[in-house]
Symmetry: C2
Subunit: 299 residues, 2 copies
Protein backbone atom coordinates (compact mmCIF):
# COMPACT_ATOMS: atom_id res chain seq x y z
CA UNK A 1 0.00 0.00 0.00
CA UNK A 2 1.33 3.45 -0.79
CA UNK A 3 1.29 6.54 1.42
CA UNK A 4 0.02 9.88 0.22
CA UNK A 5 2.11 12.67 1.73
CA UNK A 6 1.20 16.33 1.52
CA UNK A 7 3.14 19.12 3.20
CA UNK A 8 5.81 21.69 2.55
CA UNK A 9 8.64 21.17 0.08
CA UNK A 10 11.26 23.74 0.88
CA UNK A 11 14.83 24.89 0.86
CA UNK A 12 16.20 25.16 4.40
CA UNK A 13 19.19 27.28 5.36
CA UNK A 14 20.34 26.03 8.73
CA UNK A 15 22.83 27.75 10.98
CA UNK A 16 24.32 26.05 14.01
CA UNK A 17 27.06 27.31 16.31
CA UNK A 18 29.55 25.38 14.18
CA UNK A 19 28.40 25.71 10.57
CA UNK A 20 26.12 27.22 7.94
CA UNK A 21 24.24 25.07 5.48
CA UNK A 22 22.43 27.02 2.81
CA UNK A 23 19.52 25.74 0.71
CA UNK A 24 19.31 22.14 1.88
CA UNK A 25 16.33 20.06 0.78
CA UNK A 26 13.75 20.47 3.54
CA UNK A 27 10.10 20.91 4.38
CA UNK A 28 7.74 18.62 6.25
CA UNK A 29 6.70 16.67 3.14
CA UNK A 30 10.29 16.07 2.00
CA UNK A 31 11.33 14.64 5.37
CA UNK A 32 8.13 12.61 5.80
CA UNK A 33 8.19 11.27 2.24
CA UNK A 34 11.81 10.13 2.36
CA UNK A 35 11.22 8.52 5.78
CA UNK A 36 8.10 6.69 4.55
CA UNK A 37 9.92 5.55 1.41
CA UNK A 38 12.02 3.07 3.42
CA UNK A 39 8.87 1.01 3.92
CA UNK A 40 6.25 1.86 1.27
CA UNK A 41 5.79 3.54 -2.10
CA UNK A 42 5.12 7.25 -1.56
CA UNK A 43 3.02 9.75 -3.52
CA UNK A 44 4.12 13.31 -2.87
CA UNK A 45 2.00 16.44 -3.11
CA UNK A 46 3.80 19.77 -2.93
CA UNK A 47 5.05 22.75 -4.85
CA UNK A 48 8.50 23.99 -5.85
CA UNK A 49 9.70 27.01 -7.80
CA UNK A 50 11.88 27.20 -10.87
CA UNK A 51 14.95 27.62 -8.65
CA UNK A 52 14.47 24.12 -7.20
CA UNK A 53 17.72 22.20 -7.81
CA UNK A 54 17.36 19.19 -10.08
CA UNK A 55 19.56 17.20 -7.72
CA UNK A 56 16.73 17.32 -5.18
CA UNK A 57 14.30 15.96 -7.76
CA UNK A 58 16.81 13.17 -8.30
CA UNK A 59 16.96 12.59 -4.55
CA UNK A 60 13.17 12.11 -4.38
CA UNK A 61 13.41 9.79 -7.38
CA UNK A 62 16.17 7.69 -5.82
CA UNK A 63 13.70 7.05 -3.01
CA UNK A 64 11.09 5.92 -5.53
CA UNK A 65 8.81 8.81 -4.63
CA UNK A 66 5.97 9.43 -7.09
CA UNK A 67 6.25 13.08 -8.14
CA UNK A 68 3.13 13.36 -10.28
CA UNK A 69 1.60 15.56 -7.56
CA UNK A 70 4.65 17.81 -7.20
CA UNK A 71 3.79 21.08 -8.87
CA UNK A 72 6.57 23.14 -10.48
CA UNK A 73 5.60 26.82 -10.62
CA UNK A 74 7.35 29.95 -11.89
CA UNK A 75 8.88 31.76 -8.92
CA UNK A 76 10.95 30.91 -5.88
CA UNK A 77 10.75 27.74 -3.78
CA UNK A 78 9.61 28.21 -0.18
CA UNK A 79 12.77 29.16 1.76
CA UNK A 80 13.16 28.86 5.52
CA UNK A 81 16.21 29.93 7.43
CA UNK A 82 16.80 29.14 11.08
CA UNK A 83 19.50 29.12 13.71
CA UNK A 84 20.08 26.60 16.52
CA UNK A 85 21.59 27.43 19.88
CA UNK A 86 24.50 25.48 21.34
CA UNK A 87 22.29 22.91 23.05
CA UNK A 88 20.41 22.20 19.78
CA UNK A 89 17.09 22.47 21.60
CA UNK A 90 16.13 26.06 20.95
CA UNK A 91 15.92 27.37 17.45
CA UNK A 92 14.83 30.68 16.05
CA UNK A 93 13.56 31.50 12.61
CA UNK A 94 15.75 34.00 10.80
CA UNK A 95 13.74 34.22 7.60
CA UNK A 96 10.63 32.80 5.92
CA UNK A 97 10.13 33.42 2.20
CA UNK A 98 6.92 31.71 1.07
CA UNK A 99 7.57 32.09 -2.67
CA UNK A 100 5.37 29.77 -4.74
CA UNK A 101 3.94 28.36 -1.53
CA UNK A 102 1.88 31.50 -1.06
CA UNK A 103 -0.61 30.53 -3.77
CA UNK A 104 -0.25 26.76 -3.50
CA UNK A 105 -3.38 24.67 -3.94
CA UNK A 106 -2.63 20.98 -3.45
CA UNK A 107 -4.34 19.03 -6.19
CA UNK A 108 -4.39 15.25 -6.21
CA UNK A 109 -3.66 13.60 -9.55
CA UNK A 110 -6.24 10.92 -10.34
CA UNK A 111 -3.73 8.19 -9.50
CA UNK A 112 -3.40 9.61 -5.96
CA UNK A 113 -7.09 9.79 -5.14
CA UNK A 114 -7.48 6.14 -4.11
CA UNK A 115 -4.72 6.35 -1.48
CA UNK A 116 -5.74 4.67 1.77
CA UNK A 117 -2.95 5.96 3.96
CA UNK A 118 -2.93 9.75 4.03
CA UNK A 119 -0.31 11.77 5.87
CA UNK A 120 -1.16 15.45 6.18
CA UNK A 121 2.30 16.61 7.19
CA UNK A 122 2.74 20.05 8.71
CA UNK A 123 1.13 22.68 6.46
CA UNK A 124 -1.80 25.11 6.82
CA UNK A 125 -4.93 23.27 8.05
CA UNK A 126 -6.94 24.73 5.14
CA UNK A 127 -4.63 22.91 2.72
CA UNK A 128 -4.85 19.72 4.77
CA UNK A 129 -8.65 19.95 4.46
CA UNK A 130 -8.36 20.53 0.73
CA UNK A 131 -6.33 17.34 0.26
CA UNK A 132 -8.68 15.31 2.38
CA UNK A 133 -11.63 16.54 0.27
CA UNK A 134 -10.06 14.92 -2.78
CA UNK A 135 -9.20 11.58 -1.17
CA UNK A 136 -11.77 9.01 -2.33
CA UNK A 137 -11.16 6.11 0.09
CA UNK A 138 -8.96 7.15 2.96
CA UNK A 139 -8.52 4.34 5.49
CA UNK A 140 -6.10 5.92 7.96
CA UNK A 141 -5.58 9.68 7.98
CA UNK A 142 -2.95 11.27 10.21
CA UNK A 143 -2.08 14.94 10.52
CA UNK A 144 0.88 16.73 12.04
CA UNK A 145 0.83 20.43 12.87
CA UNK A 146 2.88 23.23 14.43
CA UNK A 147 2.41 26.07 16.92
CA UNK A 148 1.94 28.59 14.08
CA UNK A 149 -1.41 27.01 13.09
CA UNK A 150 -2.57 26.90 16.70
CA UNK A 151 -1.92 30.64 16.75
CA UNK A 152 -3.35 31.75 13.42
CA UNK A 153 -5.65 28.97 12.15
CA UNK A 154 -7.17 27.32 15.21
CA UNK A 155 -10.77 27.10 13.91
CA UNK A 156 -9.67 25.28 10.74
CA UNK A 157 -7.42 23.03 12.78
CA UNK A 158 -10.26 22.13 15.17
CA UNK A 159 -12.48 21.29 12.20
CA UNK A 160 -9.68 19.13 10.79
CA UNK A 161 -9.32 17.21 14.05
CA UNK A 162 -12.86 15.87 13.62
CA UNK A 163 -11.86 14.35 10.26
CA UNK A 164 -8.69 12.55 11.43
CA UNK A 165 -7.87 9.09 12.67
CA UNK A 166 -4.58 10.20 14.15
CA UNK A 167 -3.13 13.51 15.30
CA UNK A 168 0.56 14.07 15.99
CA UNK A 169 1.87 17.06 17.92
CA UNK A 170 4.63 17.86 20.34
CA UNK A 171 4.22 18.29 24.07
CA UNK A 172 4.34 22.08 24.08
CA UNK A 173 1.72 22.20 21.31
CA UNK A 174 -0.49 19.81 23.29
CA UNK A 175 -0.21 22.17 26.23
CA UNK A 176 -0.98 25.18 24.01
CA UNK A 177 -4.04 23.46 22.51
CA UNK A 178 -5.57 22.18 25.75
CA UNK A 179 -4.14 24.47 28.46
CA UNK A 180 -3.28 21.29 30.36
CA UNK A 181 0.20 21.02 31.89
CA UNK A 182 -0.08 17.30 32.42
CA UNK A 183 0.46 15.50 29.13
CA UNK A 184 -1.98 12.67 29.91
CA UNK A 185 -4.69 15.15 30.87
CA UNK A 186 -3.96 16.96 27.58
CA UNK A 187 -4.27 13.72 25.63
CA UNK A 188 -7.71 13.07 27.09
CA UNK A 189 -8.89 16.49 25.92
CA UNK A 190 -7.44 15.97 22.44
CA UNK A 191 -9.34 12.69 22.04
CA UNK A 192 -12.53 14.63 22.73
CA UNK A 193 -11.69 16.88 19.77
CA UNK A 194 -11.85 13.91 17.40
CA UNK A 195 -8.80 11.71 16.83
CA UNK A 196 -8.81 8.15 18.20
CA UNK A 197 -5.03 8.03 17.96
CA UNK A 198 -3.13 10.84 19.68
CA UNK A 199 0.65 10.87 19.48
CA UNK A 200 2.72 13.29 21.54
CA UNK A 201 6.29 13.89 20.38
CA UNK A 202 8.78 14.66 23.15
CA UNK A 203 12.02 14.92 21.16
CA UNK A 204 14.88 13.10 22.88
CA UNK A 205 12.44 11.85 25.54
CA UNK A 206 10.57 9.75 22.97
CA UNK A 207 6.85 9.83 22.27
CA UNK A 208 3.54 8.68 23.69
CA UNK A 209 0.65 7.02 21.88
CA UNK A 210 -2.86 7.02 23.23
CA UNK A 211 -5.12 4.71 21.22
CA UNK A 212 -8.24 2.59 21.58
CA UNK A 213 -5.88 -0.11 22.89
CA UNK A 214 -4.43 2.17 25.56
CA UNK A 215 -1.10 3.92 26.03
CA UNK A 216 2.29 3.15 24.54
CA UNK A 217 5.50 4.75 25.78
CA UNK A 218 7.81 4.86 22.75
CA UNK A 219 11.54 5.39 23.29
CA UNK A 220 13.81 7.72 21.32
CA UNK A 221 16.99 6.15 20.01
CA UNK A 222 19.85 7.40 22.22
CA UNK A 223 22.15 9.78 20.34
CA UNK A 224 25.24 11.21 21.97
CA UNK A 225 25.56 13.77 19.20
CA UNK A 226 22.83 15.67 17.39
CA UNK A 227 23.91 17.49 14.24
CA UNK A 228 20.58 18.96 13.12
CA UNK A 229 17.16 18.05 14.51
CA UNK A 230 15.25 19.86 11.72
CA UNK A 231 12.72 17.46 10.23
CA UNK A 232 13.04 14.82 12.96
CA UNK A 233 9.34 15.06 13.84
CA UNK A 234 8.38 14.84 10.15
CA UNK A 235 10.69 11.82 9.73
CA UNK A 236 9.08 10.19 12.75
CA UNK A 237 5.54 10.46 11.44
CA UNK A 238 6.64 9.66 7.87
CA UNK A 239 8.45 6.51 8.97
CA UNK A 240 5.46 5.51 11.07
CA UNK A 241 2.98 5.91 8.21
CA UNK A 242 5.30 4.15 5.76
CA UNK A 243 5.60 1.19 8.10
CA UNK A 244 1.85 1.05 8.77
CA UNK A 245 0.96 1.14 5.09
CA UNK A 246 2.78 -2.13 4.36
CA UNK A 247 2.37 -3.96 7.66
CA UNK A 248 -0.14 -6.81 7.63
CA UNK A 249 -2.93 -6.77 10.20
CA UNK A 250 -4.81 -4.02 11.94
CA UNK A 251 -3.60 -0.53 12.79
CA UNK A 252 -3.75 -1.47 16.48
CA UNK A 253 -1.60 -4.52 15.89
CA UNK A 254 1.10 -2.50 14.15
CA UNK A 255 1.12 1.07 15.37
CA UNK A 256 3.54 0.58 18.29
CA UNK A 257 6.18 -0.97 16.08
CA UNK A 258 5.45 1.64 13.44
CA UNK A 259 6.25 4.37 15.96
CA UNK A 260 9.51 2.67 16.89
CA UNK A 261 10.49 2.54 13.20
CA UNK A 262 9.56 6.23 12.89
CA UNK A 263 11.63 7.00 15.95
CA UNK A 264 14.64 5.25 14.43
CA UNK A 265 14.35 7.07 11.09
CA UNK A 266 14.13 10.32 13.09
CA UNK A 267 17.38 9.39 14.86
CA UNK A 268 19.18 9.16 11.53
CA UNK A 269 17.64 12.47 10.49
CA UNK A 270 19.25 14.15 13.54
CA UNK A 271 22.68 12.85 12.60
CA UNK A 272 23.12 15.03 9.53
CA UNK A 273 22.05 18.38 8.14
CA UNK A 274 18.74 18.38 6.32
CA UNK A 275 18.22 15.01 4.67
CA UNK A 276 21.93 14.30 4.25
CA UNK A 277 22.11 11.40 6.72
CA UNK A 278 18.57 10.11 6.21
CA UNK A 279 19.01 9.69 2.48
CA UNK A 280 22.14 7.54 2.96
CA UNK A 281 20.42 5.24 5.45
CA UNK A 282 20.11 1.55 4.62
CA UNK A 283 17.15 -0.55 5.66
CA UNK A 284 19.57 -2.84 7.50
CA UNK A 285 20.75 0.11 9.63
CA UNK A 286 17.14 0.84 10.56
CA UNK A 287 16.52 -2.78 11.54
CA UNK A 288 19.67 -2.76 13.66
CA UNK A 289 18.53 0.26 15.68
CA UNK A 290 15.03 -1.15 16.12
CA UNK A 291 16.59 -4.32 17.58
CA UNK A 292 18.79 -2.18 19.83
CA UNK A 293 15.74 -0.28 21.08
CA UNK A 294 14.10 -3.59 21.94
CA UNK A 295 17.09 -4.45 24.09
CA UNK A 296 17.36 -0.96 25.61
CA UNK A 297 13.79 -1.01 26.89
CA UNK A 298 13.36 -4.62 28.02
CA UNK A 299 13.26 -5.38 31.75
Amino acid sequence: MSVLVVGSTALDSIKTPKSENPRLLGGSASHAAVAASFFSPVKLVGVVGDDFPSRYIQLYRRHGIDLEGLQRMPGKTFHWSGEYEVNMNNRRTLLTELGVFETFTPTLPKSYQQSEFVLLANIAPALQHHVLNQARRPKFVVADTMDLWLNIALPELLKLLRRLDGFVLNDSEAHQLTKEDNVFAAIRKIHKLGPRYVIIKKGSHGSILSSPKGLFICPAYPLSKVIDPTGAGDSFVGGMMGYLATARGSIDANIRRAMVYGSVVASFCCEGFGLMRTTRTKRSEIEKRVKELEKLTRF
Copy 2:
Protein backbone atom coordinates in the same frame (compact mmCIF):
# COMPACT_ATOMS: atom_id res chain seq x y z
CA MET B 1 19.63 -8.48 52.76
CA SER B 2 18.93 -5.12 54.40
CA VAL B 3 19.57 -1.65 53.00
CA LEU B 4 21.40 1.01 54.96
CA VAL B 5 19.88 4.42 54.23
CA VAL B 6 21.43 7.70 55.31
CA GLY B 7 20.07 11.11 54.40
CA SER B 8 17.90 13.88 55.74
CA THR B 9 14.95 13.27 58.05
CA ALA B 10 12.86 16.39 57.96
CA LEU B 11 9.57 18.13 58.35
CA ASP B 12 8.33 19.51 55.02
CA SER B 13 5.79 22.29 54.69
CA ILE B 14 4.53 22.16 51.14
CA LYS B 15 2.44 24.79 49.45
CA THR B 16 0.74 24.21 46.12
CA PRO B 17 -1.68 26.47 44.25
CA LYS B 18 -4.53 24.57 45.92
CA SER B 19 -3.42 23.77 49.46
CA GLU B 20 -0.97 24.14 52.33
CA ASN B 21 0.44 21.14 54.12
CA PRO B 22 2.51 22.01 57.16
CA ARG B 23 5.10 19.75 58.81
CA LEU B 24 4.69 16.58 56.77
CA LEU B 25 7.20 13.79 57.27
CA GLY B 26 9.88 14.40 54.64
CA GLY B 27 13.59 14.36 53.87
CA SER B 28 15.54 12.21 51.44
CA ALA B 29 16.12 9.40 53.95
CA SER B 30 12.46 9.20 54.97
CA HIS B 31 11.26 8.85 51.38
CA ALA B 32 14.05 6.44 50.41
CA ALA B 33 13.66 4.29 53.53
CA VAL B 34 9.90 3.90 53.20
CA ALA B 35 10.28 3.10 49.48
CA ALA B 36 12.98 0.50 50.16
CA SER B 37 10.91 -1.05 52.95
CA PHE B 38 8.45 -2.52 50.45
CA PHE B 39 11.17 -4.93 49.39
CA SER B 40 13.85 -5.24 52.11
CA PRO B 41 14.52 -4.56 55.78
CA VAL B 42 15.88 -1.01 56.14
CA LYS B 43 18.34 0.49 58.62
CA LEU B 44 17.90 4.26 58.88
CA VAL B 45 20.56 6.79 59.85
CA GLY B 46 19.40 10.33 60.52
CA VAL B 47 18.67 12.92 63.14
CA VAL B 48 15.47 14.48 64.49
CA GLY B 49 14.78 17.09 67.16
CA ASP B 50 12.60 16.90 70.24
CA ASP B 51 9.72 18.40 68.25
CA PHE B 52 9.58 15.34 65.96
CA PRO B 53 6.04 13.96 66.15
CA SER B 54 5.79 10.47 67.61
CA ARG B 55 3.32 9.53 64.86
CA TYR B 56 6.19 9.77 62.37
CA ILE B 57 8.27 7.40 64.50
CA GLN B 58 5.30 5.08 64.39
CA LEU B 59 5.12 5.46 60.60
CA TYR B 60 8.76 4.37 60.25
CA ARG B 61 8.04 1.45 62.60
CA ARG B 62 4.98 0.35 60.63
CA HIS B 63 7.36 -0.02 57.68
CA GLY B 64 9.66 -2.18 59.80
CA ILE B 65 12.45 0.38 59.58
CA ASP B 66 15.29 -0.15 62.06
CA LEU B 67 15.66 3.13 63.99
CA GLU B 68 18.73 2.31 66.06
CA GLY B 69 20.69 4.79 63.93
CA LEU B 70 18.10 7.57 64.20
CA GLN B 71 19.49 10.13 66.61
CA ARG B 72 17.10 12.19 68.72
CA MET B 73 18.70 15.49 69.75
CA PRO B 74 17.52 18.45 71.78
CA GLY B 75 16.42 21.19 69.40
CA LYS B 76 14.31 21.50 66.27
CA THR B 77 13.98 18.97 63.47
CA PHE B 78 15.25 20.09 60.06
CA HIS B 79 12.37 22.04 58.49
CA TRP B 80 12.02 22.75 54.79
CA SER B 81 9.27 24.79 53.26
CA GLY B 82 8.62 25.05 49.55
CA GLU B 83 6.02 26.16 47.06
CA TYR B 84 5.07 24.57 43.74
CA GLU B 85 3.80 26.47 40.72
CA VAL B 86 0.62 25.50 38.90
CA ASN B 87 2.37 23.08 36.56
CA MET B 88 4.03 21.24 39.50
CA ASN B 89 7.37 21.35 37.72
CA ASN B 90 8.95 24.43 39.21
CA ARG B 91 9.32 24.77 42.93
CA ARG B 92 10.94 27.39 45.08
CA THR B 93 12.26 27.09 48.59
CA LEU B 94 10.51 29.43 51.00
CA LEU B 95 12.45 28.48 54.12
CA THR B 96 15.22 26.15 55.31
CA GLU B 97 15.75 25.72 59.07
CA LEU B 98 18.56 23.26 59.65
CA GLY B 99 17.92 22.81 63.39
CA VAL B 100 19.61 19.69 64.79
CA PHE B 101 20.83 18.88 61.28
CA GLU B 102 23.43 21.62 61.56
CA THR B 103 25.65 19.59 63.88
CA PHE B 104 24.63 16.11 62.69
CA THR B 105 27.32 13.45 62.57
CA PRO B 106 25.93 10.20 61.19
CA THR B 107 27.19 7.36 63.33
CA LEU B 108 26.55 3.74 62.41
CA PRO B 109 25.46 1.48 65.26
CA LYS B 110 27.49 -1.73 65.33
CA SER B 111 24.55 -3.67 63.89
CA TYR B 112 24.57 -1.38 60.80
CA GLN B 113 28.25 -1.69 59.96
CA GLN B 114 28.00 -4.99 58.07
CA SER B 115 25.39 -3.63 55.63
CA GLU B 116 26.18 -4.62 52.05
CA PHE B 117 23.69 -2.34 50.29
CA VAL B 118 24.37 1.27 51.17
CA LEU B 119 22.21 4.13 49.94
CA LEU B 120 23.71 7.56 50.52
CA ALA B 121 20.54 9.55 49.91
CA ASN B 122 20.76 13.28 49.30
CA ILE B 123 22.76 14.94 52.08
CA ALA B 124 26.11 16.79 52.26
CA PRO B 125 28.87 14.78 50.56
CA ALA B 126 31.05 15.09 53.69
CA LEU B 127 28.39 13.18 55.65
CA GLN B 128 28.07 10.61 52.85
CA HIS B 129 31.85 10.07 53.13
CA HIS B 130 31.58 9.75 56.89
CA VAL B 131 28.98 6.98 56.62
CA LEU B 132 30.99 5.13 54.02
CA ASN B 133 34.07 5.25 56.28
CA GLN B 134 32.15 3.24 58.89
CA ALA B 135 30.75 0.60 56.53
CA ARG B 136 32.78 -2.59 56.95
CA ARG B 137 31.72 -4.65 53.94
CA PRO B 138 29.82 -2.54 51.44
CA LYS B 139 28.93 -4.52 48.31
CA PHE B 140 26.89 -1.98 46.36
CA VAL B 141 27.07 1.71 47.27
CA VAL B 142 24.82 4.23 45.55
CA ALA B 143 24.63 7.97 46.18
CA ASP B 144 22.08 10.58 45.22
CA THR B 145 22.80 14.31 45.31
CA MET B 146 21.34 17.73 44.53
CA ASP B 147 22.37 20.95 42.80
CA LEU B 148 23.22 22.57 46.17
CA TRP B 149 26.21 20.22 46.67
CA LEU B 150 27.42 20.80 43.12
CA ASN B 151 27.46 24.49 44.00
CA ILE B 152 28.98 24.46 47.47
CA ALA B 153 30.72 21.09 47.96
CA LEU B 154 31.97 20.00 44.56
CA PRO B 155 35.45 18.82 45.68
CA GLU B 156 33.96 16.49 48.34
CA LEU B 157 31.39 15.26 45.84
CA LEU B 158 34.07 14.48 43.25
CA LYS B 159 36.03 12.54 45.88
CA LEU B 160 32.86 10.65 46.78
CA LEU B 161 32.23 9.68 43.14
CA ARG B 162 35.46 7.67 43.16
CA ARG B 163 34.11 5.57 46.06
CA LEU B 164 30.72 4.73 44.56
CA ASP B 165 29.32 1.88 42.53
CA GLY B 166 26.32 3.90 41.41
CA PHE B 167 25.50 7.59 41.16
CA VAL B 168 22.01 8.97 40.71
CA LEU B 169 21.30 12.52 39.61
CA ASN B 170 18.78 14.39 37.52
CA ASP B 171 19.36 15.62 34.00
CA SER B 172 19.92 19.26 34.93
CA GLU B 173 22.46 18.22 37.58
CA ALA B 174 24.25 16.03 35.02
CA HIS B 175 24.46 19.06 32.77
CA GLN B 176 25.72 21.24 35.63
CA LEU B 177 28.37 18.68 36.61
CA THR B 178 29.73 17.97 33.11
CA LYS B 179 28.80 21.07 31.07
CA GLU B 180 27.42 18.67 28.47
CA ASP B 181 23.99 19.43 27.01
CA ASN B 182 23.59 15.97 25.58
CA VAL B 183 22.67 13.54 28.34
CA PHE B 184 24.57 10.59 26.82
CA ALA B 185 27.70 12.70 26.45
CA ALA B 186 27.24 13.77 30.10
CA ILE B 187 26.91 10.12 31.18
CA ARG B 188 30.20 9.25 29.51
CA LYS B 189 31.95 12.00 31.48
CA ILE B 190 30.36 10.92 34.77
CA HIS B 191 31.62 7.35 34.29
CA LYS B 192 35.12 8.80 34.02
CA LEU B 193 34.64 10.35 37.46
CA GLY B 194 34.22 6.91 39.03
CA PRO B 195 30.81 5.22 39.11
CA ARG B 196 30.19 2.17 36.91
CA TYR B 197 26.44 2.69 37.20
CA VAL B 198 25.14 6.13 36.26
CA ILE B 199 21.42 6.80 36.55
CA ILE B 200 19.86 9.98 35.19
CA LYS B 201 16.44 10.90 36.53
CA LYS B 202 14.18 12.78 34.11
CA GLY B 203 11.01 13.12 36.17
CA SER B 204 7.91 12.32 34.12
CA HIS B 205 10.15 11.36 31.18
CA GLY B 206 11.54 8.37 33.10
CA SER B 207 15.19 7.60 33.73
CA ILE B 208 18.28 6.27 31.99
CA LEU B 209 20.77 3.72 33.27
CA SER B 210 24.27 3.42 31.90
CA SER B 211 26.01 0.31 33.22
CA PRO B 212 28.72 -2.20 32.28
CA LYS B 213 25.93 -4.01 30.40
CA GLY B 214 24.97 -0.92 28.41
CA LEU B 215 22.04 1.46 28.46
CA PHE B 216 18.52 0.98 29.78
CA ILE B 217 15.69 3.38 29.05
CA CYS B 218 13.36 3.17 32.06
CA PRO B 219 9.80 4.49 31.75
CA ALA B 220 7.95 6.62 34.27
CA TYR B 221 4.51 5.38 35.25
CA PRO B 222 1.97 7.65 33.48
CA LEU B 223 0.09 9.86 35.93
CA SER B 224 -2.64 12.18 34.77
CA LYS B 225 -2.56 14.00 38.09
CA VAL B 226 0.44 14.86 40.25
CA ILE B 227 -0.39 16.01 43.77
CA ASP B 228 3.13 16.55 45.15
CA PRO B 229 6.36 15.41 43.49
CA THR B 230 8.49 16.10 46.60
CA GLY B 231 10.53 12.99 47.39
CA ALA B 232 9.80 11.20 44.11
CA GLY B 233 13.49 10.98 43.24
CA ASP B 234 14.31 9.67 46.73
CA SER B 235 11.49 7.12 46.47
CA PHE B 236 12.85 6.02 43.09
CA VAL B 237 16.34 5.31 44.35
CA GLY B 238 15.04 3.87 47.63
CA GLY B 239 12.72 1.46 45.84
CA MET B 240 15.51 0.49 43.49
CA MET B 241 17.96 -0.29 46.31
CA GLY B 242 15.32 -2.14 48.30
CA TYR B 243 14.53 -4.33 45.32
CA LEU B 244 18.21 -4.97 44.55
CA ALA B 245 19.02 -5.96 48.12
CA THR B 246 16.62 -8.92 48.06
CA ALA B 247 16.76 -9.93 44.41
CA ARG B 248 18.73 -13.10 43.68
CA GLY B 249 21.52 -12.95 41.16
CA SER B 250 23.92 -10.23 40.07
CA ILE B 251 23.37 -6.48 40.14
CA ASP B 252 23.45 -6.50 36.33
CA ALA B 253 20.76 -9.16 36.20
CA ASN B 254 18.42 -7.17 38.44
CA ILE B 255 19.08 -3.47 38.15
CA ARG B 256 16.68 -2.77 35.24
CA ARG B 257 13.76 -4.33 37.05
CA ALA B 258 14.88 -2.61 40.24
CA MET B 259 14.65 0.74 38.48
CA VAL B 260 11.15 -0.05 37.24
CA TYR B 261 10.09 -0.90 40.80
CA GLY B 262 11.66 2.35 42.00
CA SER B 263 9.84 4.22 39.27
CA VAL B 264 6.52 2.73 40.37
CA VAL B 265 7.06 3.59 44.04
CA ALA B 266 7.91 7.14 42.90
CA SER B 267 4.60 7.29 41.03
CA PHE B 268 2.70 6.55 44.24
CA CYS B 269 4.79 9.19 46.03
CA CYS B 270 3.59 11.81 43.52
CA GLU B 271 -0.05 10.98 44.19
CA GLY B 272 -0.16 12.38 47.71
CA PHE B 273 1.46 15.03 49.84
CA GLY B 274 4.68 13.99 51.54
CA LEU B 275 4.54 10.27 52.29
CA MET B 276 0.76 10.17 52.61
CA ARG B 277 0.11 8.05 49.51
CA THR B 278 3.35 6.06 49.61
CA THR B 279 2.75 4.80 53.12
CA ARG B 280 -0.71 3.46 52.19
CA THR B 281 0.63 1.56 49.19
CA LYS B 282 0.24 -2.21 49.08
CA ARG B 283 2.80 -4.49 47.50
CA SER B 284 0.06 -5.79 45.20
CA GLU B 285 -0.53 -2.24 43.89
CA ILE B 286 3.17 -1.97 43.10
CA GLU B 287 3.16 -5.29 41.25
CA LYS B 288 0.11 -4.18 39.26
CA ARG B 289 1.82 -1.01 38.01
CA VAL B 290 5.02 -2.88 37.16
CA LYS B 291 2.95 -5.25 35.00
CA GLU B 292 1.22 -2.27 33.40
CA LEU B 293 4.60 -0.70 32.58
CA GLU B 294 5.64 -3.93 30.91
CA LYS B 295 2.58 -3.67 28.68
CA LEU B 296 3.00 0.06 28.08
CA THR B 297 6.53 -0.32 26.74
CA ARG B 298 6.32 -3.54 24.74
CA PHE B 299 6.35 -3.38 20.96
